[in-house]
Structure formats: C-alpha cells, structure tokens
C-alpha cells in the first residue's frame, strides 16, 4: 500500500476551522501557512485524531529572494498519510519562526541545520547553534546571495 499524500486543499479547511486566518493558501502539493501560527498548527496536526501526524520526516528551507519558506514534511504512522506544510517568512532581514522541537524532538538537529545554512532563527529552540559549520563562520551558505 502506498502512503497517501494528503492534498493541501484537503487539510487547509480543517485547519482553518480551528485556527482561522492561519492558512495563506493551499494547493494539491502543500499547504502554505502563516509563520506565526506554525506551532499551533503543528500541535493540531499532531494531536487531532483525524490527522495524527506523529512523525516529522523532514525540515528544510528555501530562499526565494523576497521571502523564505520553511518546509515541513510530516507522516502519520498509524493513518499512513503524509502532508507537506510550508511556512512563509516575508523579508530577508533577521528571519524568525517558532520552533517545533517541543512538538517533535526529531526537529532539533534539522532546525539547527536550517539555522546554520539558511540563517533562519527558530524561536524557543533549546540549543540553537551552528551544526555543520563552526561558530564564527560568517554568513549562511545556502542563501542565494551568499557568494
């Protein structure tokens, strides 16, 4: 049986119902959400019985020049479905987003990696420091304006 990829359009109304104003847009592949409500959304995705997303596969980020996107891929082991959530961070200066480490501990290293290479600060991360590069390295290499 193949894992079912939940469409963003399918998940978005159910999120909006509980946390109105948190979803910016949704399409077949993913759901784009407001960065400030990410912790609430993730908590809901993990705890509500209909979603039951107990497993965080992947966290990464993309630099789109005028905004950053943090991408979360989550899976429900019991329900066998997956979802892609994107949080949009407008602007280039001092990008910040709430951490999801209190929801899934597995987010710890992956958020540190995003911080290290993309320079996005995760608010309330227990140990936010560089992971691949050394302390004192200037800049964040995966940003498009690096080099």
């Amino acid at each position: 049986m193949r894992l079912k990829a939940l469409a963003g359009t399918e998940a978005a109304p159910r999120i909006e119902e509980k946390l109105s104003g948190s979803v910016i847009e949704s399409n077949e592949a993913c759901m784009v959400v407001n960065k400030d409500s990410i912790a609430g959304i993730m908590q809901l995705l993990k705890e509500s019985a209909e979603f039951d997303f107990d497993y965080i596969n992947n966290i990464t980020a993309v630099d789109n020049f005028d905004h950053f996107e943090v991408i979360y891929n989550v899976t429900s082991i019991a329900k066998k479905h997956t979802l892609c959530v994107k949080a949009r961070i407008p602007g280039r200066d001092n990008p910040e987003i709430p951490s999801v480490t209190s929801i899934w501990k597995g987010a710890d290293f992956q958020e540190r990696e995003v911080y290290d290479l993309m320079g996005i600060r995760f608010i309330d991360h227990p140990n936010l420091k560089r992971i691949a590069l050394w302390e004192g390295f200037e800049g964040h290499p995966l940003r498009k304006d690096f080099l």
Binding site: I71, W104, K105, G106, F109, L133
Partner: protein, 370 residues
C-alpha cells in the same frame, strides 16, 4: 564518609577510533556513568547542497554516492526516485528490477558492515569484521561488473540505470546467493550465542517506541523498538509491492534488538533478490533507461521523495525553477536524524556502553555532515 567526586568532561573524537569517521562527543562523566553527552559534527561538511545548485540533474548523481559511501547505490536510488517524481518520468520495468537487485545487495553489505563494526566496538577487534568484509568483497565484485567501480558507483540514472546487467552478472549473483546462506549461518553460530555479546547488548542503549517516533528515527533503529514501519512495504516505491518479504521488528529497542533486526533484514534482502531474479528472467530484454533529453528540465515545482535506505529513510527535497539545475537540493539523511536520539540513549549508562550504542545506530559521517 562521603566520597568527594567531581564530574569530568571528556572529548571523544574527532579522531577516536570508535567514532566511525570524524565525529566528536563531549561527554560529562561521573566516574564511569555518562551524565551528559553532546554530539558535535560537521568536520566532513562539504556543502553538497550548495554545490548541487550549480550542476545539472545528472551531474548531481555522483554527489549522492558521496553521501553514505557505505551504501552508495541507495543514495543513487533515493535521488533518482525524487527527480523522477519531480519530472514525472516512467522507469522501464527492467530497470526497476535491476535497481531492486542492486539496492538489496547494497542493504546486505551495509548491514554486514554495520554489524561487523558494531561487534568491533564491543571489543571483538577485527575478527568478525574480517568475515563480513569477505562477503562484502564479493558484492563489490558484482557491482564492479555493473558499474566499473568498486566504490562510489555512479550507477543509477534518472529514469533507469546506466547499463543493463552484464552477461557474467547473473551467474555470479546466483553463486553468491547460494554460498551466502552457509556463511550467514556461520555468522549466526559464531556471534548470536556469544555470552559477552549478549550481556553487553541486551538492555543497553534502550529507546522506547514512542521516543523513537518522536525523534523521527527510521530504519533498523526504529524497527528495533517494535514499530512496524518500512517504506519498502508502506510506501512501496519502485516495485517493492511485487515481492513477498517480512518487515523485521524488535521488541525492546536495545542494542541487541538493533543487531538482530539488521541480521534479520539481510536474509529478507536475500529473499527479495531471489524473487526479483526469477521475475527478471521472465521479462523480455528491453531498455533500461527512459528516453529523456540530454539536459533534463523538470517542470517548475517541488517534490519530496524518500526510500528505505539501509540506514533509514533517505529523502530528497527538490525544487525546480524549470532550468537545468535544481533551485534547491536538500537531502534528508537518515543517520543525521537518528543521531538526535543518541543523547537519550546513552545518558545514565556506562561510558563503555556509549561506544556500543553509538555503533549500533550505524552512521556514516559523510551523510551526516553532507
């Protein structure tokens, strides 16, 4: 009288022989007991994600060899599966069978090496490992027939594989599979009942199923805790739905279970290869590569695809802007995420168990640091 003791902070690595590469642990010890452990890595960070942004989709395939160099073929496959999802490429059936055979051989090798080094960390220096290397050598010979390389194979292509099976490959593979059963039994006879191995591994480095899911562990480490989760069956990417195999699970999530799960998976891979060979021989000869333009330009969009690599879920997140190079190339390395849980597995245990537990996660620093 109360003994006055003091905590000692010890740096293990980055050049410690048991760290499987350049990995460093800052361990705080109370006598022999670990009270705090912080993993530090990045010594092998090559910036592959940045480098990939300047290369065409095909030119990136050699990078995926260099992620987890113990199982390069799995890296190849994970990346090709992700690009195929992004560009919606159909892979010829024959190529799918070849991929499965090659990747399951790779899994057998990876688990042999993982177990060999794990036993090595337990103090059985080199001897069991040498037997594992001997079997690996035979598989490396098989891979050499296919790709011309003994290491870093660069064998898979987007939409298939680079070469059809060499004429000498199938007889050699059959001989390997036949001989392997006896050797496998030998490994089991020598190691499984060993009292030292049992007493050192049973009940050490324990992690519960809930914790393992919370830490997003994957692969044998997750299954050792009792979670019945294998992307080969649950996502059945490629053609894994055509084979009959068992997902091996443990019970307690200790070092022993991780060792047993790996040994069990070796024989399941053996089973899959046998079935794949049978089904392949009924197929009529055909192309092993999809018809694609020389410079692939996937449509604008993004894709995340993951496979069950030997070490766990290896996934790629790709963003295409419609050009010949990816706009963003991200690898979700299984051992990198599995390492998150290491602290919880070792704190409260003895320092000697720390080495064993670390070895039981089975990491490859090239894929952790990328």
């Amino acid at each position: 009288m109360v003994m006055k003791t003091e905590l000692v902070t010890l740096n293990m690595g980055p050049h410690h022989p048991s760290t499987h590469g350049v990995f460093r642990m800052r361990v705080t010890l109370d006598g022999e007991v670990v009270v705090e452990m912080e993993p530090m890595f990045g010594y092998l960070h090559r910036g592959l994600e940045k480098l990939a942004e300047g290369r065409t989709y095909t030119q990136i395939i050699p990078f995926t060899d260099r992620l987890d160099y113990v199982s390069s073929m799995a890296g190849n496959l994970a990346y090709c599966v992700a690009v195929e999802k992004l560009a919606q490429v159909e892979v010829p059936e024959r190529a799918e069978y070849i991929r499965v055979i090659i990747c399951e051989l790779q899994r057998m090798v990876n688990h042999l090496i993982a177990v060999g080094f794990f036993i090595n960390d337990l103090g059985a220096l080199q001897t069991p490992l040498q037997y594992m290397w001997r079997e690996r050598e035979k598989v490396v010979d098989l891979f050499e027939m296919q790709s011309g390389q003994r290491f870093l194979y660069n064998y898979m292509r987007i939409g298939g594989v680079s070469h059809d099976l060499a004429p000498e490959f199938i007889p050699a593979l059959k001989k390997f599979l036949d001989d392997f059963i006896g050797y496998y039994e030998e490994f089991e006879d020598l190691l499984k009942g060993n009292e030292i191995i049992q007493s050192r591994t049973i009940g050490t480095g324990v992690i519960s199923a809930e914790q393992a899911i919370d830490y997003a562990m994957s692969g044998p480490c997750l299954r050792a805790t009792g979670v019945n989760w294998d992307l080969r069956r649950d996502d059945s990417y490629s053609i894994y739905d055509r084979f009959d195999f068992d997902v091996i699970v443990g019970e307690n999530g200790d070092n022993w279970d991780r060792y047993r799960v790996r040994m069990g998976e070796i024989m399941q891979s053996h089973r899959i290869i046998r079935q794949a060979l049978e089904q392949l021989e009924e197929l009529s000869p055909g192309s092993v590569n999809a018809e694609l333009p020389q410079l692939l330009r996937p449509p604008v969009g993004e894709a995340y695809a993951a496979i069950e690599a030997p070490k766990g879920e290896m996934g790629f997140y790709l963003v295409s802007d419609g050009s010949i190079a990816p706009y963003r190339w991200h690898c979700r390395a299984p051992d990198f995420v599995n390492l998150c849980a290491l602290r919880d597995m070792v704190v409260g245990g003895k320092i000697a168990d720390l080495i064993v537990t670390f070895g039981s996660i089975d990491i490859c620093l090239a894929s952790v640091d990328r």
